[in-house]
């Protein structure tokens, strides 16, 4: 765990979240903690403002290409006046621009002024740390990938040199961000980990990374706010979607990321999403986790013998179980193995859903494919969520 040159010694103008006006009020004890860790819902005026700013930004993003203030007022439930103040703030911060007016033929009155996100106003970094390679990318405010870079990883090696390389790549990728401030760096990792403190637990297949204080290590090397997340959870955040959705991953293992009620679900011990270890057959083959008949064990065993159909059937059953239990409206499929040959999986899942949902029409589930970049993009989205909430 070499600690290396601390890179940019202080965060070069990054830490201020949405509002930029106040000099440095920050009553928070730790400089990067999210204001109040375990506050049970009590809100401050500053937090209120940030929340409403975020709500407006989200509404603008959701609208795609241009919304008016009136529409924002309707969508958010705030007054026109409140929207006026909030958008003024966001315009001053450079996050929004006015982009023409919306002339609707045969409609009297002053036309609405369109507002848009300024993609280059901020940027975010996201990385996927895998057992084979490290993938880093930078996105703009809309989440679109701007540049990316990759480097191989030796899973048995020490993390230190790799993190040094990561820091170097970060410097490269952020060198040319005009005035666009970098919001932070999201790191998506396999295996169980502690999201809150950014500490890895037993990362399967990467023995030297066991127990690593990843957040601290990368924060020291880059000077950026760092967020550590499980890869599947990052996957589900790769793009905005419905309030109830799941990202299902089939690669080296099987896992899922969950958004329920519009919120990422990490579970009590940040260990939710162990979708691959649901038991589908108490007498099935043994799994690496110690149990028997896990979905993951069934899938991997089938794949080893080339029986994609069986792997797909097992996965499909798991997805149907998940959909029935959680009533999600979208399932996003990802992971190298699955994306390498998606059709059989999609077909099997469609069949299973049709067979196992009592009313497939009413409970329609959208099935989509993630891109290969979903995980690092989701990691970047994590950094963007400082603005979008």
């Amino acid at each position: 765990m070499t600690t290396d040159p601390p890179a940019p010694p202080a965060p070069p103008g990054t830490p201020a979240p949405p509002g930029t006006s106040a000099p440095a009020p920050a009553p928070a004890p730790s400089p990067d903690a999210p204001s109040q860790s375990s506050a049970p819902g009590a809100l401050n005026l500053a937090l209120l403002r940030d929340r409403n700013d975020a709500a407006v930004l989200r509404a603008v993003r959701a609208a795609g290409d241009g919304t008016s203030r009136v529409e924002l007022a309707v969508r958010t439930g705030l007054t026109a006046q409140a929207i006026s103040k909030i958008t003024a703030r966001l315009l001053a911060d450079g996050l929004l621009t006015e982009a023409g007016r919306s002339h609707v033929a045969g409609r009297s009155g002053k036309p609405r002024t369109l507002l848009r996100l300024v993609p280059d106003a901020r940027s975010a970094l996201g990385a996927e740390i895998g057992r084979r390679e490290l993938h880093l990318l930078r996105t703009d405010l809309t989440g679109a990938v701007v540049v990316r870079a990759r480097t191989p990883i030796d899973p048995d090696g020490e993390p230190g040199p790799i993190l040094d390389r990561l820091a170097a790549m970060v410097r490269e990728l952020t060198a040319d961000t005009g005035g666009g401030r970098v919001l932070g760096l999201g790191l998506a990792c396999p295996g169980p980990l502690d999201t809150r403190d950014g500490i890895l637990h037993q990362v399967t297949g990467m023995p030297r990374w066991h127990g690593l204080h990843l957040r601290e290590a990368v924060q020291d090397r880059t000077g950026l706010p760092v967020l550590v997340e499980k890869n599947t959870t990052a996957g589900v955040l790769s793009r905005p979607g419905p309030d109830h959705r799941a990202f299902v991953y089939l690669g080296d293992g099987v896992g899922a990321g969950l958004v329920l009620g519009g919120r990422v679900q990490r579970g009590a011990r940040t260990n939710a999403g162990e979708f691959g270890h649901q038991c589908l057959d108490p007498d099935g083959p043994p799994c690496a986790c110690g149990a028997r008949g896990c979905l993951e064990a069934l899938c991997l065993a089938a794949l080893r013998t080339g029986r994609t159909d069986r792997a797909a059937a097992a996965l499909a059953l798991g997805v149907a179980n998940l959909v029935r239990l959680l009533d999600v409206e979208e399932v996003v499929l990802g992971g190298a193995t699955l994306l390498g040959d998606p059709e059989p999986y999609e077909a099997a899942i469609r069949t299973a859903l049709a067979a196992r949902l009592p009313d497939p029409h009413w409970q329609h589930v959208t099935l989509t494919r993630a891109t290969a970049l979903a995980v690092p993009q989701g990691a970047a989205a994590l950094a963007l969520s400082r603005l979008f909430g």
Copy 2:
């Protein structure tokens, strides 16, 4: 669907939620809708105040018997001054009282003034509508049951007369609520339903209730704010618990209610919790839902042949799957069948969790039994959540 005498023609002084001072600002379109239905997180000042009031009330409730203002300030993250103002409001509303001072030996300074909930300040009604009987109860502010009543139900009968009886029971049970205002009536029902509009879908085993506008019907008959909820979801709310917990139900069927991240999860179409229809054996016995090998089918088949052990094993496997997928910290067991003979189920679940969680120590799961009243109590808790958020 007889419409009957509309009972107390207007809500007799009930509608104002926490704050009572303002005459009647209510900018909400519909009188009982929760201010703004689908507002994506935007808050106005009135909502901010209600939220903070609720946060303080929750903190007082969580503290059990008496907290001080300083402690509330710490817990909520608000300033002492803010707490002072908020508690003053709640004291004026009669929700809190000052109950002595906390003399701690060997501690200098002014002793803290203890604050407590006033149990009788408000009350809430909760009902469980089952296939065999209707169970109604009234709780105080703390959720403790004050009075209850029951009446048999003919599952094949018309709902109208039963709802009339319900309204009569409501009048009885609320006749002697001193000044304690009734916050509302929660109705827990089986089967798929639409929580938002309070409309039942196809309630299994109660054909005449199919498509009933239950909320409206009961609201008209009682004049109270009515909330309709699925029985399992009500069950999980029967008492405060950890932020990630599940209520698992084995009665006429098998189901679950979920609280994840401190929020009830109903799913995209308020159909989450179909825990009983996870497939544990693709070649298993056919289930009433049309699929094969559902947990519920396995359990019920085993129970029909008196094999409690097999039913317990199936349920335990499902619970283990649920815990791994969602990383809950508490599982509450309920339902008449299970509570009639809980030991084998508990033992099987403990065994399954020990076998299937990679680190049972770190991921410890508390297993508790619900009371027989959990469902109607949870329904009442739903009405209490107007105050507690």
